[in-house]
Each structure stands twice: as structure tokens, then as C-alpha cells.
Symmetry: C2
Subunit: 243 residues, 2 copies
């Protein structure tokens, strides 16, 4: 049994569990199985297993075989593309319900890393693909989720190509407030370090830091410790984000 989803490092720190049934699953309305009927769910339930990853741990490594796919039950996963010379860009942030791993693709293209402590609902990739082929609801839902990710990636292309540093940081916070782990809350805890935010926005640590303090000075946000961010007005934040 492989210890990570692919052939990643740190096998010893991975915990595997088989506890929560699909009917009491916290992500059943958002995950790839959201539209599956009871029969399909029974099959999924039988072959799934839960697995925990500690913050910082690799889930998949670029270029390695991806033998597993997993649905995020809890936590945040980052997808990173790193060049030979060390330059790194986060090309996707995944939240609860999102799928980690590449069904229908033998190799991982990006590193998938736990940005927080993470719990995945894991399937063997080959087995999951059989189910995709056999269950129209599952394949249809996977297609829907892939289309959403494509839209998100294209919106991020606009951000990376055309927005200023201030707009980038504001956009990131607005995105977190909209679809992050504490979606809808007026105060949230950043799931990423400054370095990770910089890697996601195509900036440096220093610029992210400066823009955060500037947004706070301007009253668009409040800062509470290193991770705490308050959002007094989503409208003002959206304006600062430039859309």
C-alpha cells in the first residue's frame, strides 16, 4: 500500500482511517460524489478510506505516478509548479470537497502539498476511474468540477497578468472569504503563510506584507496577529480587488 497518494515522501507521517460513513460525510453535498445515488454511494463507501496529512506534507509529487485520488474532507491543499531554477508558482488552491489527484491521467503534473492539516477521502485511481466510467452521475459531477476549476484558473490568469500588487492581495482575501474554509465569515484565519500567498499571487513575501499593512491602514481590512484578518466590508474589499 502506497503511503501517499503517489509515491511521495514521508510515508511514516500518514495516518489511514476508515471511520466516517458516506451518509454522515461533511462534504457530501460538495464533493465529486454529491450527485451519486444510494447504489453508487454504497460502492464508494466500500472502497474509500480516510487519510490524514500533516501541514507541509507532500500528497503528490510532480512527475510521479499518481496511484490515488482523494476528496478533501478538511483542510487546504496547494498545487505548486516549480521550475528547475527554483522559481515556484502556486497554480491552484483546493478546499473541502475538491479533488486531489488526476483521474484519467497517469502522472501528476504539479506538487500537491498540505497547506494546513488535511483529511482526504481516498480511492485507488484505477478503481475510481472504473467507477467514473460506470456511474454517469459521478462522471458528470467530475466534469462539472473540472469546468469550475478551469474558470477559476482563467480568472487567476487575469489576476496574474493584469492586476497590481494591492489588487492581487485584496483579490486573494476576497476569494478566501468567498470559497475558503470559513466562507462567509467576517473574520478569517489565513490558511497560508506570507511566502505561500506570494507564490500564489506572483509576488514576493515583502510585497505581500506591505500590501496587507497598507490595506489595513486604509481600513479595508483589520489584522489580528499573523493569521487573523477581519473584513468589515466585503464591498470595499471587492473594490480594492479591482472587480
Amino acid at each position: 500500500m502506497p503511503a501517499t497518494l503517489g509515491t511521495g515522501p514521508d510515508p511514516r507521517r500518514v495516518a489511514a482511517r476508515r471511520d466516517v460513513g458516506c451518509t454522515s460525510c461533511p462534504i457530501q453535498t460538495k464533493a465529486v460524489c454529491a450527485h451519486s445515488d444510494p447504489d453508487e454511494l454504497r460502492v464508494l463507501d466500500a472502497i474509500k478510506s480516510y487519510r490524514d496529512y500533516a501541514i507541509g506534507q507532500d500528497i503528490l509529487a510532480a512527475g510521479m505516478a499518481s496511484e490515488m485520488v482523494g476528496s478533501i474532507v478538511r483542510g487546504v491543499v496547494k498545487l505548486t509548479k516549480t521550475a528547475a531554477d527554483g522559481r515556484a508558482q502556486i497554480v491552484g488552491l483546493l478546499f473541502a470537497g475538491d479533488l486531489v489527484g488526476r483521474p484519467m491521467r497517469p502522472l501528476a503534473l504539479y506538487d500537491a502539498t498540505a497547506a494546513t492539516d488535511v483529511t482526504l477521502c481516498v480511492f485507488r485511481r484505477a478503481r475510481f476511474e472504473e467507477l467514473l466510467r460506470a456511474s454517469p452521475h459521478l462522471e458528470r459531477r467530475f466534469l462539472e468540477m473540472t469546468l469550475d476549476e478551469l474558470d477559476a484558473a482563467r480568472d487567476w490568469q487575469f489576476l496574474l497578468g493584469r492586476k497590481t500588487a494591492r489588487e492581487k492581495v485584496a483579490s486573494f482575501l476576497e476569494m478566501l472569504a468567498r470559497r475558503g474554509p470559513q466562507a462567509g465569515a467576517v473574520s478569517l484565519a489565513l490558511p497560508l503563510t506570507r511566502a505561500e500567498i506570494a507564490a500564489y499571487l506572483g509576488l514576493t513575501i515583502e510585497t505581500v506584507s506591505r500590501q496587507l499593512t497598507r490595506l489595513a491602514k486604509d481600513g479595508v481590512i483589520t489584522l489580528d496577529g499573523l493569521r487573523g484578518v477581519g473584513i468589515p466590508s466585503v464591498t470595499a474589499l471587492r473594490a480594492a480587488a479591482g472587480d
Copy 2:
């Protein structure tokens, strides 16, 4: 009958044709119908129609209903996201075989514009979605193509966030040589203006122009008129692209 794929402008300049049969289609191995069996192809053949768009013409407009989807038979289509203040970013370039329009989505999110003269093989969206649901081969192929587009979008995120202007321009040329209309050729005609290249790379016209002349001075490419580019060594070009 709508004149463009959505409710876009310039209805008078759109030509509709119904000539080429699926069995003699130039994109039958690359398009969304590539894996369809003869029965499915017969249905597609019966409901398709060819349509021509002149260079610069809008095919879909962001925010408008997308009543049609079409497979590119010939030409290049650009997807553009434009902010309220006029900043624009090309978030996708589509070539022969690629699908224009958004199956399973009622609205277009980006402007789709003919970057060259274009011929599409067009279907009504509602009808196409019925077929997607009824034809596993078709849905599977559409999923494959969407996954490929997602990968391309993520690679472009790295380019936009981390590459230098020189690397961006070199990457663009390398991408064109690899998957553009004249894929594989050592000399190619740019399907985009400097302004469009700039919008695709998150740069300005001036910077694109300067980097092209610099790449030519360094012997990485040759320039022949405004549109002609020669690639003496793909290896050297790939090195200049930073990957």
C-alpha cells in the same frame, strides 16, 4: 436563428454552410467527436452546420447567453477577459479541434473572438448537451479536452506569475510551434498581432516588440516581416523560454 454563437454583434458578416461530411472532416481525429462511433457520428452529422467568422469578429460575448457551441475546423480563436477599466487579458488560445462555447453552462464568461478567419462546426448548445448525456464517448472526450485545457491554463499561470518578458515571448513562440496551426514547422506566421501577444503574456506591445528583436539579435529566432518567425533551433528556443 442567432447569427453568432451567442448574441454577439455583426450578424451580417456571418456565413453559414452545410457542406463537409463528418467522414471527410479535417479535425475528426482531434475534435470532441474524435472517439464517437459511427452511430453517434451520424447524429452529429445531421445536426451540425459550418459557419465562417472573419478576423476580428466576436463569436461569444462575456455575460451573454451561449446558445451554441462549435468545434474549430480552421483558424485561431482567443478568449479575452476584460475589466471595467479596460485592462484585458487573453486567458486562452484555441486551435483546430478545440471547442468554443460552454457546454453545461448557460452564460459565456469570456469574449471569444476570431483571431484569424475561422470556420466552426456548430451545434445548438441544448442539443449538444443532450448528446453529451446520451453518448459516453462524446462526454468522455469532452472531459479529456477540458482536463487538457486546465493543464494548459495552469502552465500559463506559471508563465504569467514567474517568467521574465524574454521568457514569456520565447514560451509563446515555442507553444505556437508545438500546438499552433503550423505545428512542427521551422517557420511560422504569427496568428496574433503584437497587441494580442502582449494581452496573452501580461505585457505591453512595446515590451513584446523589444523582446522579439532581442531574441532575433541573439540568433534564437529570425524575423521575416511583421508576421514571419523562423525557429532555427527548438532546443535554443526552449532554453530561452526557461524550461
